[in-house]
């Protein structure tokens, strides 16, 4: 991605721009050249191959950081799509790639398939993140990192009774994040360089053509983190400066997991039983040292050594059973029970040293602390549904009960709380004709006790959906839903409501279509913060959003060789929390050229207005050209 200085033309130097662009073109051209070479080599064996690559350039007016926070876009040359598909009757070799070059999301895959016998393949995914805290948010975050995932997989389908899948995957994160870390009475900016890796191997066995279908899956995963720190400027101007920071050492997590399930279905009934077990074991060996200069080091230095040795072990088990029974042609009974149990045990030994370095020499104050704790979460859910179904109508009545028990134990104290929930739900759907369906529903939920004060005591939901295929290519869909949640005044006086209404109208004729939609969505939450000392009036925490989202999408043939695609959307939030307006236009003219080539000219624009923080506003224009070749 080119940096902002290039995009703000008034600040740039033309020579530098040309140098950077030439350099970018040279680097990205290698990708394109390799892709082109691969295509040429595939011409000989023919079938369905496509290569598309393009170039985009962007012009900004306003806050470019605000745009990049919301949209992760690259700029410059990129491979839009590469598809080499060698698809024969019994074999298939496929290469897919997209985004290689100047795109924040890059994908590639290779698949070789002996149909009905085996599949072999590789998948590659890379995502770049670029985020900077907005000026109004005092978090002072600055993220620039990427994660890459490479997966190799194999499926063997050749046995008569069993399918086998193997997968090996590696995830890696690189880059850095700058953010405040609490130091000598004030927060200091620390830059953390990432070095995280996760590797996992999984094996899956699945029976086939047997009365009882059994699946077994085993995963071994290992996550390691060996990040490093660098000191930055303190967030608040202060004479005491962070001179040195070192640590934190490597964390390592091992996570084996096992899943086993069995499924049987007959004309009359079906049953599904399964269980999952997973364990996460983290070993912590940490030694951090930070050193501050008092009055820029003139008075002396203050060092903190923090040495932690411990481990954290989380074990989770889930047991799930589903049962379905066809009482008659029109009546069905379904039952589902899920039990989930998670225990996390922690223990550690902590050594803390305060090292004071003054004119009189060095003094060390030392303390040691050891503790252990345990978290237990136990969920039980029972759900039942009775359904009536004839050719045009379906009525389903459901009842559910859920309990959650939380226990927290330390060496000195223990706490335990249990929350219960009961839910009733009714769904009615009716097919008026082959082209017109409707659905209405309601759900009422009651909860007891509170684990967190903001949790609801009652939640009610109602919804309606209508879908109609009208005459001569027109179709209409309507959806509406409301939800209300409350809890008592003495708890947190929670009052949360949300509603959604969507209408979509579409028209299609031959290869042309036009769709118009409008969605209105409101969300409002109010929670009392009564515990503020000296506060005599209710001082609620409010989140209020009133969003209207309107879209117009169309695709039209222009003669036999060209097509115009248009997409216009407008989002406007008029709630009290963060009102904004966003208008987006995506348009492309697609036409065929000589030698089986396809061409796209694209114009995209975004216009964002933040009604509270005008400094976040931007207008963005993006122009692109893409060429594709199908052979």
């Amino acid at each position: 991605m080119l940096d902002q200085t290039i995009l703000n033309s008034d600040k740039t130097n033309m020579t530098r721009i040309i140098e950077k662009w030439v350099s970018a073109i040279m680097i990205k051209s290698r990708f394109l050249f390799m892709a082109l070479l691969a295509c040429v080599s595939f011409i000989a064996i023919g079938q369905d191959h496509t290569i598309q690559f393009g170039y985009d350039t962007t012009f900004t007016n306003g806050n470019f950081k605000s745009f990049t926070n919301q949209y992760q876009f690259g700029e410059g040359f990129y491979l839009d799509q590469l598809k080499l598909d060698f698809n024969k009757v019994d074999t298939r070799f496929q290469v897919l790639a997209s985004g290689i070059g100047d795109r924040p999301t890059q994908r590639a895959s290779i698949l070789f398939q002996k149909k009905g016998v085996y599949k072999l393949g590789l998948r590659y995914l890379k995502k770049d993140f670029d985020f900077h805290s907005p000026e109004y948010e005092v978090g002072m975050r600055d993220d620039q990192w990427s994660h890459t995932q490479l997966t190799a997989f194999m499926e063997y389908l050749g046995w008569s009774r069993l399918n086998l899948s193997l997968e090996v995957s590696q995830w890696q994160r690189e880059g850095s994040i700058s953010r405040p870390v609490y130091g000598l009475g004030i927060p200091y900016i620390i830059k953390t360089e990432f070095d995280d890796q996760n590797s996992d191997m999984r094996i899956k066995l699945e029976t086939k053509k047997m009365p009882v279908k059994i699946r077994f899956e085993q995963v071994f995963a290992e996550y390691t983190r060996d990040n490093t720190y660098q000191p930055g400027q303190s967030l608040i101007q202060d004479d005491d400066v962070l001179l040195e920071i070192d640590g934190p050492g490597e964390d390592r997590r091992d996570s084996p997991a096992t899943s086993l399930s069995a499924y049987y279905e007959s004309e009359k009934w079906a049953v599904d039983l399964g269980g999952i077990w997973r364990k996460d074991q983290v070993d912590i060996l940490r030694k951090d040292f930070s050193n501050y200069g008092l009055s820029n080091g003139v008075i002396g230095q203050l060092g903190f050594l923090h040495d932690v040795t411990g481990d954290s072990e989380r074990e989770a088990r889930q047991l799930r059973s589903s049962f379905g029974f066809k009482i008659s042609d029109k009546w069905t009974l379904r039952l589902r029970y899920t039990g989930f149990d998670q225990t996390t045990e922690n223990q550690f030994l902590e050594l803390f040293q305060l090292i004071v370095q003054g004119p009189a020499g060095q003094t060390i104050f030392e303390s040691e602390f050891a503790d252990q704790s345990e978290w237990e979460k136990n969920d039980k859910t029972l759900y039942s549904q009775l359904e009536y179904h004839n050719d045009s109508t379906r009525v389903a009545f459901s009842w559910g009960e859920r309990t959650r028990e939380i226990t927290h134990l330390t060496l000195e104290a223990s706490e335990s709380v249990e929350r219960e929930a009961e839910n009733l739900r009714l769904d009615v759907s009716h097919r008026f004709s082959k082209n017109m369906t409707s659905k209405i529903g309601a759900s009422i939920g009651d909860y007891s006790d509170f684990i967190f004060r903001i949790q609801p005591e009652e939640v009610d939901r109602y919804w309606l959906r209508l879908k109609a295929g009208l005459r001569k290519g027109w179709s209409l869909s309507l959806k509406a839903a409301i939800e209300d949640a409350v809890n008592p005044v003495e708890q947190a006086s929670l009052d949360r409501s949300q509603s959604q209404v969507s209408v979509n109208l579409s028209y299609s004729h031959k290869n042309n279509y036009l769709t118009a939609g409008i969605t209105q969505q409101s969300f409002s939450s109010e929670i009392a913060l009564n515990d503020i000392p000296g506060n005599t009036v209710n001082n609620p925490s409010i989140y209020d959003s009133e969003l209207i989202f309107a879209t117009l999408n169309g695709s039209f043939e222009m003669g036999s060789k060209a097509r115009l695609n248009l997409s216009l959307s407008r989002s406007a939030d008029s709630g009290d929390t963060m009102p904004f307006k966003l208008t987006q236009l995506q348009s492309s003219l697609e036409f065929t050229g000589p030698f089986n080539t396809f061409h796209w000219l694209t114009i995209q624009s975004w216009s964002y207005e933040n009604d509270v923080f005008e400094s976040e506003d931007y207008d963005m224009m993006r122009f692109g050209y893409k060429i594709g070749w199908r052979f």
Binding site: G116, G274, S322, Q521
Partner: protein, 296 residues
Amino acid sequence: MRHTINTSLLSFSVILFFSLAIGAQENASAEEQLAARWEDVACFECHDAELLNFKNTSHHLLISQNQKVSEEESCALCHGDTEEHMEDPDLSNILTAKHSPLDLSRKCASCHEDAGKSNLLAINDHTDLDIVNCVSCHVSGHYEEIASPLLSSPPVKLCSSCHQSERAQFDMPFAHKDMNGPMECTECHNVHDQGELFSLTNFGSSQMCSKCHEDKAGPYLFPHAVNEIEACVACHTPHGSLTPFQLTRPTTTQLCMECHTDFFIKHRDSTLGLQSCVQCHAEIHGSQRDHLLFQP
């Protein structure tokens, strides 16, 4: 273990390319013979264009390999009895995706037992075939797939045709976007409702998020209780939000204070005043060395 993974990846690549070399030996004559067999089927006297498309689909191969079904009978597997249709080529006497999506979906379920089983067991809208059926999202065997597996549009487009309000949330300033549009819905959601039981990656909502946010998966020596109990969605909205980090409230501080009502008591003498809580409590998801969640 990392060494093992790298070795496995390398070995895998070698096996893959060795297999490619073997697979490249195409059996042209076998293919021609197969094509000739299909051309004799009476249906294709009128529907020759459908045959051209059908030849590249996996349905074609499966039917060709099935010794119990002749090519003549194979069309009837999906389209029902064809005899009447041959007498009178009216759409009302044959099953098609446009004409009777519900009935055609029931035909699909007779082979695709994973999708079919959800009719008896699962409890969600995607199993109510009146509302959503197979051909709402999947192309039949005759048409080119736009996205895998046999989808008629990219997943986001398909999902948002019904889930418009969820689509709208992705256009909020801070959302899980991929380039200009929403992230693929299927990266988190299992549309056929078999996820929890069969896929370990779907094991609890925090495990789902940690597919990308691996560093937030824990467990932590000093966990943030809400993360341990309610997981990510207690504070974040997964689709989109008005505020950075997709929070459920305008600011981090406001979000924290809803539970931590003793904020003013603990910070009465603080010179920091009402600043962002995460300025100091930066490791808000949990820490491996600090019970106040100041440092990682």
